[in-house]
Every structure is written in structure tokens, then in C-alpha cells.
Symmetry: C2
């Protein structure tokens, strides 16, 4: 199908396509000899469950060269992304402005893991309400506030208490929501 006949779908990067939390946990565990897992976070952010005097280390990790380049791909995302691109005009939309040093690393990450993804469809922005797509998959509900399309919340520990938006728990949920057609 031609792109201009497809519905448009924007997909967030950190915590949706990229398992950024896993990278924070591995950096933290390595530095402090801990074994924190995602399950330990429950409904909280990592910064909320670690000692206050270690919180600044998280920002330090994110600002370190290579941090965003080496984030693992979120489990299951790769195959579903390929299928989504057949049926939707897909954009990768990432709020990169919090860590401007991450621009190039995020771009290289996309080119490495999704080498055929077109540059034209990568968006680095701060406020995703500026994005004009039919759907947005994101782990941060704040991006849905003024978004004109339909927002889907990708589950992360920090958003488990959020109830206002349809929720996708993993990439199999993404497949079911966007790629399962009634025959």
C-alpha cells in the first residue's frame, strides 16, 4: 500500500522500542553491586526506589557517551515493527530534548537496529502534541494530553497506575491491536 493511503502511527523510542530502563538498571547494578530488576520497581521510577544520594548517578549515566547507543531493543519489537510498516506509515518519535547529547546516538541506534527505517520518518521533539498521526504508542501519558490522534499507553513500571488510556503491555499486544484483522 502506498504511504499516503495508510494510517499514520507514531512510536516512542525509550521504554517502547528501546529497553532504556534495562540499561539504567544494568549501569546502576554494576556501579553499586546491586541486583535490582524491573519487578522491584513496582509502580515507581528507578529514581524513587534508590537512595537519594545516588539519584544524580542516573542523570550521569544518561549523559555518558555510548549510553543511548547501547540500549537493548525492547523484546518482540523488531518483528512487529516490520509488519507495522507494511500496513501503516510509521514514525519513530522520541523526546530527545531532555538529553540533547543523545541525538546522534539515538539516530545511530535506529539505523543499527532498523536499518531500512527511513530518515524522513524519524522525529526528535519535546512535546509530542506537535505530531500529527492517527495513533501514538508511548509510555508517558503526558504526551497524550494535547495529541489529536488516539494514544496507546505502553506499559512501564512508572505508568502502572494510569487508567485513562488503552494499554499495551508488550509487543504482542501491539500486534493484536494494530495487525489483527477480523477475517
Amino acid at each position: 500500500m502506498k504511504d499516503n493511503l495508510k494510517q499514520r502511527l507514531a512510536i516512542d523510542m525509550d521504554e517502547v522500542l528501546a529497553d532504556t530502563l534495562a540499561r539504567f538498571l544494568s549501569e546502576y547494578n554494576r556501579e553499586f553491586g546491586e541486583n535490582l530488576t524491573k519487578a522491584d520497581l513496582s509502580e515507581r521510577k528507578l529514581a524513587e526506589i534508590i537512595p537519594a544520594d545516588r539519584r544524580a548517578r542516573l542523570r550521569h549515566y544518561a549523559l555518558s557517551p555510548g549510553f543511548f547507543r547501547d540500549i537493548p531493543v525492547m523484546a518482540g519489537s523488531h518483528a512487529v515493527m516490520e509488519e507495522l510498516r507494511e500496513h501503516y506509515e510509521v514514525f519513530i518519535a522520541t523526546a530527545a530534548m531532555e538529553f540533547p547529547s543523545s541525538f546522534s546516538e539515538k539516530y545511530l541506534w535506529i539505523k543499527h537496529h532498523f536499518p531500512t527505517f527511513p530518515d524522513t520518518h524519524i522525529v526528535f521533539c519535546g512535546d509530542k502534541s506537535v505530531i500529527s498521526t492517527d495513533f501514538l504508542i508511548d509510555d508517558s501519558p503526558r504526551h497524550f494530553d494535547r495529541f489529536s490522534g488516539r494514544g496507546f499507553l505502553y506499559t512501564a513500571p512508572h505508568n502502572r497506575a494510569e487508567t485513562r488510556y488503552p494499554r499495551l503491555n508488550d509487543w504482542e499486544d501491539v500486534r493484536r491491536q494494530f495487525l489483527t484483522r477480523e477475517e
Copy 2:
């Protein structure tokens, strides 16, 4: 006025806010001992009026560290931008994907020349049809093809033959179009 009550205006960077062509001309003139000016371009791109064997140098300039950091601000843009921000929710939208090495330099350029401009309202993208604003000021008519708002063409030598869109010749035109109210 609160941002969410304002109309939204996206402004392109290269050739609109930033005088990128002036930077290309100065690099080219310095290397080849020429005195090319914008007037010499008439309706053409710089690449079209220079000897074919020098064309690759333009891409080389754009890929050189510091090129995008040191571009002059477009004459008249600074004061009008400040006024626009009082009356519109303004985004700076730049198609940075052609030169991904330019991300950080473009970000630093914005922070340097417009230090109070919010990170949340900077957008790096490829295809600007993904931007949801009421207006877009751009020198590349291709960005208006699928843009849902109203496009205004900012005059550059390469677009002088384009007649499909309302035209803004300089930042005084921008002021007249967007800031002059009938009393």
C-alpha cells in the same frame, strides 16, 4: 496568553531563521577565491551554478564540524521571533535528517541565538507533514504537500519560480502577515 489558547506556528531553520546559504557562500568563496553572492544565484541552487567538479565540496562543508554551529541568524528574524512568541505557540522545525551530524550543532545554535526558546518546542524531523500546527513557514515547498495547516513560502533563490503558496520575502513580511492586526 496561555500557550494552549494560541494558534500554533512552526518555523523552519535553514534559510528561514538561519542564513545557511550565506554560510555556504562564504565557505565556497574562501576555498576558491570567488565572490559569489545570493544575487548571482538567481532562481538556482548554489550547486547548479558552480563547476560540477566542485559540487561535492558543498556536502563536505555541511559535514564539517562547526558548519551548522556558526551560521548567521537571518536578518530581522530575532526581533520578530520574540514578538511571534507572545502571540503564537511557536515551534522551530528543522529537517535535520539530511545531515545527522548536525543535530547537536543545530540545538546549540538555537540555544545560543534564542536562549529562552523552550526545548519542548524544537522539532528535528525529515518529513514536516508529520507536524501538527496551524501554520508553517518554510523555504522548501515539498514540506507543504501533505501539511494539514497553511504553508507560507519563505523566499530563497531556489524557490523563486514557485507560485503555489503565499510568499514571505523577509522577516518584515513575516511581521506583517502574522503580527499586524486591524484596529
